[in-house]
């Protein structure tokens, strides 16, 4: 295993890719059984995976993929596609392989028991084999190799000297039949083969290790032995005289028939071309993170130098700094770009998931993936899987109806689930939509009353917006676990927490009877954030720029007190005025000079701060959970002067005043 250790990361990455492709292909083949291109693709990928696993010494994976390949090979020739039972077995095999890859990554051992699956795969093809027994008659016909020359050898020799060349293959020779063919055709190129074992008819099925040829040649015995030994995996080659010379005259050798010509090595050194094949490089994700980290440090130092330069009077310094800034911006953009991967990486898990769930729930679903090429920071993509899985489970379990219900409602029996990704400004928006029954506000209200989340009076007046908001409440879905699909005691609040952890937000809209759409909005990248630096009570805070609508001088505005809460009255609306100092544990300051209008949790609020220090690019760091929980902070950043700025979690602040 030591010899292969350096290839392990590559094996894991490429193995996972192959497994995902296989999952997609198998689901596709279930939908369109006659898709020959997909069957070929499955066969090819299984084959690649087999070669890789075997090379790495993962015998269990290799054995299983080998068997899968056999099944696919048979299916390739069979018409009518796969039965569901076959698809199920294949998908189970893929699950086992995925588990094996995971186990290899975590423990180095594949932890797979392929035999039960192999047995099941074999039952899939048994019928075919019984139907067509002639297809694979691989009985060895050359078990006992005869070294006795054929009886008519002297006759064939016509008085010429006949040499017996006997080549022995190494014990573990790869494909003896091909080796035999290579040896015999090499010898045929050097003389006239009068007879051979295996004979011309037996070569293709040869499985032994001894190859003998009797030939007439004008080459020396040593040359013939050397020629036979030049074939790879030949352990030994011996010559002996089978029939002695009858006359001195060597006679004419007949032109050889089938053997390929022994090519002269042509050393026509061709001009070198710089055209190299592969133009992509695989990079360890960790290195990308390190690169990003170093880039972040660079931005920090640059900002520091800029700060110092503002007070220095060095000729040429501003120009030099400008150049530095330009280059570092370009570099930063490139690093960001390198970290971007298509959201496809996570979306491609879903056809399989949707397929499994729809089978389990006896529902018919057509899944459409839109915008797979949309790119996102890889750290975001990695964390997006679980929340999306939850939304999809919800749609299939609660949203989409059974075929009967859909027919009764005048809808097509097959429901639609659409997962789309697109760029919108500095964000990526990912939505999960179904055309199911939609959310029933009354039912949500009833449950919320049972949970003690709202009063019966509030339930009377519930509307769709309030109902969807209730679904995200931590107390809403934790109690009764009704199904093993979307239940499990985790509700939409878990989705929201996860998405907020990524600096994004999730909202839900629904039309009763027509369907539900959940929308996740995420920043393009997490590690470097453009923010407005502000001061409150002598402390520094950073507000994400993409959440800021604008800033106002509070002295110019009207602030009213409504039901004990301060509200900022703007020409285009009234919004809560939140004192930043008070929000973060300080006292309320009446002398806050500025209001920063931010968007959070779908509403506008004004954040009152005492000073604004301008825009910065900040390298964000997560806060330890014990600090972050319930703090309405999403992280922290070190400023160029070493001071720490806390990053305002706009959604949490807005929630606090909702």
């Amino acid at each position: 295993m030591d010899e292969t250790a350096e290839y392990l990361p590559m094996f894991l990455a490429e193995g996972r890719e192959h497994l995902q492709e296989l999952n997609l292909a198998v689901v596709r083949i279930e939908e369109t059984p006659d898709d020959q291109a997909t069957v070929d693709e499955i066969f090819r990928i299984a084959h690649s995976l087999k070669g890789m696993s075997a090379t790495m010494g993962f015998a269990g994976m290799a054995a299983l993929t080998h068997e899968m390949e056999d099944v696919f090979e048979l299916l390739r020739q069979r018409k009518g596609g796969l039965e569901r039972s076959a698809v199920d077995v294949l998908l189970e095999c893929l699950d086992a392989l995925e588990a094996a890859v995971d186990a290899i990554e975590s423990s180095g051992a594949e932890a797979i028991t392929p035999d039960p699956l192999i047995a099941r795969l074999r039952t899939l093809v048994r019928d075919d084999e019984e139907a067509a027994p002639a297809a694979s008659a691989e009985e060895s016909t050359s078990a006992g190799v005869l070294f006795e020359p054929p009886a008519d050898l002297s006759e064939l020799a016509q008085g010429r000297r006949v040499v017996q060349v006997h080549a022995t293959l190494v014990a573990d020779a790869s494909i003896p039949s091909v080796r035999a063919y290579m040896i015999l055709s090499t010898l045929a190129g050097l003389g006239e083969t009068l007879a051979c074992r295996p004979g011309p008819e037996e070569v293709e099925t040869f499985t032994g290790s001894d190859i003998v040829a009797w030939l007439v040649s004008d080459r020396t015995d040593a040359e013939l032995a050397e020629a036979a030994a030049s074939v790879a995996e030949v352990e030994d080659a011996q010559t002996s005289e089978a029939v002695a010379d009858a006359a001195i005259d060597a006679g004419e050798t007949l032109p050889e028939a089938t053997a390929p010509a022994a090519a002269e090595p042509s050393k026509a050194a061709a001009p070198r071309s710089a055209n190299h094949g592969s133009s992509t490089v695989r990079v360890d994700a960790e290195r990308l993170d390190q690169l990003m980290h170093a880039m972040g440090e660079l931005v920090l130092h640059r900002t520091h130098v800029e700060g110092l330069a503002a007070h220095a009077d060095v000729p040429g310094l501003p120009q030099a700094l400008q150049a530095l800034t330009r280059t570092s911006h370009a570099l930063q953009a490139m690093v960001m770009q390198v970290r971007m991967i298509p959201v496809e990486a996570v979306l491609l898990r879903f056809p399989r998931l949707v397929r499994d769930l729809s089978v389990k729930l006896s529902k018919q679903v057509e899944l459409e993936l839109i915008g797979k090429d949309t790119e996102l920071d890889r750290s975001v993509v990695d964390s997006l899987g679980d929340p999306l899985v939850h939304l999809i489970r919800n749609s299939l379990d609660h949203g989409l109806e059974t075929p009967e219900e859909r027919r009764a409602a005048g809808k097509p029996e097959t429901g639609r689930l659409e997962i789309s990704a697109r760029h919108a400004g500095g964000n990526v928006v990912i939505s999960v939509s179904d055309d199911g029954r939609g959310i029933d506000p009354a039912r949500v209200a009833k449950k919320a009353v049972e949970r003690g989340l709202i009063t019966p009076e509030a339930a009377e007046a519930i509307d769709m917006a309030r109902a969807t908001e209730l679904l995200f409440h931590p107390g809403f879905s934790t109690a009764d676990v009704t199904s093993d699909i979307s239940g499990r005691g985790v509700g939409m609040d878990a989705v929201r927490v996860a998405i907020r952890g990524l600096g994004g937000e999730v909202t839900m809209t629904s039309v009763q009877g027509e369907g539900t759409t959940s929308e996740i909005r995420l920043p393009l990248t997490l590690a470097i954030m453009a923010a407005l630096l502000v001061q409150a009570d002598g402390r520094a805070f950073a507000i994400p720029l993409d959440r800021i609508e604008r800033t106002v001088r509070l002295a110019d505005q009207t602030v009213r007190s409504v039901a004990g809460r301060r509200m900022l009255v703007m020409p285009d609306g009234v919004m809560p005025l939140v004192c930043a100092s008070e929000q973060y544990g300080g006292s309320r300051t009446e002398n806050a000079a500025f209001g920063v209008l931010i968007r959070g949790n779908g509403q506008r609020i004004a954040f009152a701060v005492s000073a604004m220090d301008g825009q910065r690019e900040l390298v964000t760091r997560p806060l330890p959970p014990e600090v972050a929980d319930g703090s309405a902070l999403s992280g922290a950043a070190v400023l160029s002067d070493g001071q720490i700025a806390l990053i305002v979690d706009c959604d949490a602040v807005a929630e606090g005043v909702a």
């Binding site: 790869s174 494909i175 190299h276």
Partner: protein, 119 residues
């Protein structure tokens, strides 16, 4: 030492073959990921030797081998096969491939095949 073109659809296998060849002092001048690329690269670069995977997308190794051999009847090509491809390997040898290796292969087996094909 020889200038080699390495052809395999799996990056992992390309790397293993390339590393084995580089360790034996050969120069991997290019890599190709399918049969068509293989033929194009072979024509453009005229390598001393090519290793050719059999099962590949778009154009498989056997078809590519046939085209390479018609471009250059003296081309030195070593097939990279897997278990269960006996008949394809046989066909490739008949088409003119110099040797074959069967995955999983050891580096020394690849090196031996290349050395013998170049001899």
């Amino acid at each position: 030492m020889a200038r080699v073109l390495v052809v395999d659809d799996a990056a992992f296998m390309r790397k293993m073959v390339s590393d084995a060849l580089t360790k034996a002092g050969h120069e991997v001048i290019a890599e190709a990921t399918n049969g068509q690329e293989a033929v194009d690269q072979f024509q453009a670069l005229k390598p001393d030797l090519a290793t050719l995977d059999i099962t590949m997308p778009e154009k498989d190794g056997l078809t590519a081998l046939g085209e390479i051999m018609s471009l250059d009847p003296n081309a030195r090509v070593i097939m990279c096969s897997a278990l269960g491809q006996e008949s394809k390997v046989m066909e490739s040898i008949k088409l003119g491939a110099r040797d074959f290796v069967v995955k999983p292969f050891k580096a020394d087996r690849v090196q031996e095949a290349v050395a013998k094909a170049l001899a």
